[in-house]
């Protein structure tokens, strides 16, 4: 039996949650039938969140669980990777504070890219740990079924050998030419076939075949599965597949449809995260990824799971939601509609790549500096110390996890900002560094000088002229 498995995990679901009733109400004039789907809420990204930023949040939380073995590889799985040619995994690893001397890989192409990447990590013989992070922020045409069903989120899973919380028992995979949906290069929206056909011919035939093969090679009975993680937006599919396989009805893990929606490539791992939260030593977890074929993975919880604390469990990130009823906000944040932002929005946000590379550890990894002469911690790192003027090189000081507070602030309604008003002000780190920052997810009534902040990695500017966007750190109320 493998000594490899999952050593820690963490999730990120955007705080913004759209009430589905608001989506249905907006479309009632044309699609009154959507009212039936208008229950619960779905997660959606703020204008400055994408699969990269969500992944960084999940990986940082995942790495909060201490482990001596180093991470030597990071794989990023997504069908909505922000960059087609500019490795997303490299950026995620750097922003998450991982060493630069690691392997990295982008996986994509189907909703099972995350389970496939996870299998590769678990089958690896490398001595170092691998972090697999999956995230999706899928577009859906207004008034489509997908607009109701899709959510957004990321999950990071760290794999390694030795002290694991869930031991890897094995996996099985298959390929298939079954096209339940597709999205071609350069296209924004999925094109989906009839759900009833997908249910009957794919979920009830292809999935059970692969799962049965895995159970057989692992020597495990279906009835001994305690957690069955099968992501699908089609109602009733998971219980039907469980019934067909002989998996207990109470083993079917919640697909989070009511409070989050389908997080795409991340969803198998999101449900795995839910299972890990509940699992007791010895319990078996079955995870299925489906898309142009099928992956099935089997885990067994170890005694280490009892004391394990996730850096951000699925339940905790799920509970951090802020319900929104402004449907046009969701449309605007996802780029489905373009508001008239006025002439200030015409500002060119071209990035100087030479400058970016010189400062990339400051911009992406938020590394400040400490003066060798006077010990002042500062950001950015300029040619001379902000306090004593020494030109000696500054020692690197990471700021992303440093505690900080509001020193000054305002809510600017004049500046061009896709989520007005722009909250910004001076952020005072406890270690002495100070810098002017954008502040997000602010609750205006509780915003005051002295409020505790934490740092989040977000999109800073979108360059619509060159189809590029740049990232930087922002401050958000702690907790």
């Amino acid at each position: 039996m493998s000594d490899r498995g999952i050593t820690s995990y963490a999730a990120y679901i955007p705080r913004l949650r759209m009430a589905r009733a608001s989506i249905a109400a907006a479309h009632a004039w044309a699609m009154p039938g959507l009212k039936a789907a208008g229950k619960g809420e779905r997660a959606f990204c703020s204008w400055d969140e994408d699969a990269i930023t969500m992944s960084v949040d999940a990986v940082r939380a995942c790495l909060r669980t201490a482990r001596a073995n180093p991470v030597t590889a990071l794989s990023f799985a997504s069908t909505t990777a922000p960059f087609a040619d500019l490795q997303n995994a490299s950026l995620i690893a750097a922003a998450s504070g991982l060493s630069h001397d690691i392997g990295s890989l982008d996986a994509g192409g189907s909703l099972r890219c995350a389970t496939s990447a996870l299998i590769r990590a678990l089958e690896s013989s490398a001595s170092g740990d691998t972090v697999v992070v999956a995230a999706d922020k899928r577009h859906a045409r207004p008034a489509s079924a997908q607009e109701m069903q899709y959510g957004a989120g990321a999950v990071a899973v760290r794999t390694g050998a030795g002290e694991v919380i869930a031991r890897y028992l094995g996996s099985a995979s298959a390929i298939s030419q079954f096209v339940d949906h597709f999205r071609s290069e350069g296209q924004k929206y999925d094109y989906a076939w009839e759900e009833r056909w997908v249910r009957d011919e794919a979920y009830l035939k292809i999935v059970p075949g692969v799962v049965a093969r895995l159970l057989q090679t692992s020597g495990i009975n279906a009835a001994d599965i305690s957690y069955f993680c099968l992501p699908s937006t089609i109602s009733g599919v998971a219980p039907a597949v469980a019934r067909k396989l002989g998996i207990r009805a109470d083993a079917v893990v919640d697909n989070l449809a009511a409070r989050c929606g389908d997080t795409g490539a991340a969803h198998p791992l999101m449900m795995l995260g839910l299972a890990l939260e509940a699992a007791k030593p010895g319990e078996r977890i079955l995870v299925v990824g489906f898309g142009a074929g099928c992956d099935a993975l089997l885990f067994e919880a170890t005694t280490a799971i009892t004391s394990h604390q996730s850096g951000m469990s699925v339940s905790r990130t799920l509970a951090r939601g802020l319900t929104d009823t402004s449907y046009t906000r969701m449309l605007s944040f996802s780029g489905e509609i373009e508001l008239d932002w006025g002439m200030r929005a015409e500002l060119d946000t071209k990035t100087s790549m030479t400058q970016f590379y010189r400062a990339s550890d400051q911009i992406i990894s938020f590394i400040g500096g400490k003066c060798g002469a006077c010990d002042t911690v500062q950001f950015p790192r300029m040619a001379a110390c902000v306090r004593c003027g020494s030109v000696a090189p500054l020692a690197p000081v990471p700021l992303a996890d440093e505690s900080a507070r509001v020193a000054t602030f305002t809510a600017d309604w004049l500046a061009y900002y896709p989520a007005p008003p722009l909250h910004m002000g001076l952020v005072q780190f406890d270690n002495g560094a100070r810098t002017l920052m954008e502040m997000v997810e602010v609750v205006p009534e509780t915003f005051e000088v002295g409020l505790q902040l934490r740092m989040v990695f977000r999109i800073k500017d979108r360059d619509s002229l060159r189809h590029h966007h740049r990232y930087f750190w922002k401050a958000t109320p702690a907790g």
């Binding site: 006025g342 002439m343 200030r344 500002l347 060119d348 946000t349 990035t351 100087s352 030479t354 400058q355 970016f356 400062a359 400051q362 911009i363 002042t376 500062q378 950001f379 950015p380 300029m382 902000v386 306090r387 509001v406 020193a407 000054t408 602030f409 305002t410 809510a411 600017d412 309604w413 004049l414 500046a415 061009y416 900002y417 008003p421 722009l422 910004m424 002000g425 001076l426 005072q428 002495g432 560094a433 100070r434 810098t435 002017l436 920052m437 954008e438 005051e448 000088v449 002295g450 800073k460 500017d461 740049r470 930087f472």
Partner: protein, 398 residues
């Protein structure tokens, strides 16, 4: 041993265009409007001017870089002419360049002129632009009101002033400037506004409402300077001289260290201390007769009263509410309407302030004339409070 600028330079002519939305003209017209008035005031031929300093801050909507646009507009080729830019202190910087040249004895007569044509952008407020390749990667997209509004957060936190009390004092600042601007035919805004309107205006950058912010304007202002001796030889009897010209710039402490609490502007304090020393002012609250300060926002004027040492720290709210800075108060401030109502064409502003003090000192301020002013102070703030520069000029009679 340097002895400072005091009484080494006389202003023999000043001019100021009508400020406002000058849809009718471009920068070259504004420059000539101010220049012709100054030339007539000085009573000299244009050919007597030996060097010029031209202030222009936002070249991308103005006339471009270099001083060639100014020499072309004024048809003043063949003499040294320099473009200066130091944000909102640009006009004062032009004056400093011309005054230093005269004080150095390098030229007899020099020109300082500043202009800005801001209403050609298509929208209100200052135009947006890049802040350099590194800053663009780090700094939030901010506006001037967004920068200065943070003074309110810092001030409230330090002095425990309620949001409502501070908002009222800020409104009182703008109310007073509208009262003054209504008596100035060259002002951009010549209308009185009541306190309720000011208090209930839409927010621009919390807690600044529309009436807490100056607008931007088109305009130009200009000064012709020489030595007091030459001024006398030109037949001038009532001579206004420069008593102090000071400038202080940030080097990163406010934005980059915990030293600054956001409740004041450090550079104003530094420049003021040096200016008072240069002019020989010991008690500014008593000795300064009038002030034109950089009221880009009401909260800026409020903290400036403390930064200039006029009000004690934490005492500006009381002085403002007591009417100490009103036209009939203990130390009239923004007699011409200030940036708030006279307007704020950036490159011209410092010279516009000097223009009002000059008129007042010579008893030529018409309906706004104060009784026997002795010293007039003008103050500019460029940038945002945590990364700024402050300029101070003090004028008086010789």
């Amino acid at each position: 041993m340097a002895t400072g600028i005091k009484d080494k330079v006389a202003i023999i002519g000043m001019g100021c265009s009508k400020f406002g939305e000058r849809w009718d003209c471009g920068t070259e017209h504004l420059l000539n409007e101010a220049f012709q008035e100054a030339l007539a005031d000085a009573g000299i031929e244009k050919s007597r001017i030996e060097a010029g300093w031209y202030g222009s801050a936002v070249d991308r909507v103005n006339v471009g870089t270099s001083a060639i646009p100014a020499t072309t507009a004024l048809r003043m080729g063949g003499i040294p002419f320099t473009r200066v830019e130091n944000m909102c202190a640009t006009g004062t910087e032009a004056l400093r360049g011309a005054a230093y040249a005269v004080a150095a004895g390098v030229v007899d007569i020099a020109l300082a002129i500043g202009a800005e044509k801001l209403k050609d952008t298509g929208y209100g407020g200052l135009p947006t632009g890049t802040r350099g390749t590194l800053n663009d990667l780090i700094l939030p997209v901010s506006t001037a009101p967004g920068g200065f509004a943070q003074l309110a957060a810092g001030y409230r936190a330090r002095y425990g002033v309620s949001r409502e009390d501070l908002k009222m004092a800020m409104a009182r600042v703008s109310w007073k400037s509208h009262q003054n601007g209504a008596r100035n035919p060259k002002a951009h805004l010549q209308k009185e506004v009541d306190l309720d309107t000011i208090l209930n205006a839409p927010l621009i950058a919390d807690p600044l409402g529309v009436y807490d912010c100056c607008g931007v304007s088109d305009g130009a202002a200009c000064a012709i300077v020489t030595t007091p001796e030459i001024a006398r030889s030109l037949g001038k009897h009532d001579i206004v001289t420069i008593k102090a010209l000071q400038l202080s710039l940030s080097a990163g402490l406010e934005i980059g260290t915990a030293d600054w609490d956001g409740s004041y502007v450090a550079n104003t304090r530094i420049a003021a201390a040096k200016a008072y020393a240069e002019a020989g002012v010991r008690n500014p609250r008593k000795e300064i007769s009038m002030m034109e300060v950089h009221d880009c926002f009401s909260i800026t004027e409020l903290v400036t009263m403390e930064d200039l040492g006029i009000s004690p720290d934490g005492g500006a709210v009381k002085d403002i509410m007591d009417g100490f800075f009103d036209a009939d108060g203990g130390l009239p401030c923004q007699i011409d309407g200030g940036l708030k109502c006279f307007g704020h064409p950036i490159g011209a502003t410092g010279l516009r302030m000097a223009y009002e003090n000059y008129l007042q000192l010579l008893g030529r301020a018409g309906k706004r004339q104060l009784k026997d002013p002795v010293l007039g102070l003008s103050h500019n703030l460029g940038g945002v409070p945590y990364n700024c520069l402050a300029a101070i000029a003090i004028l008086g009679r010789l």
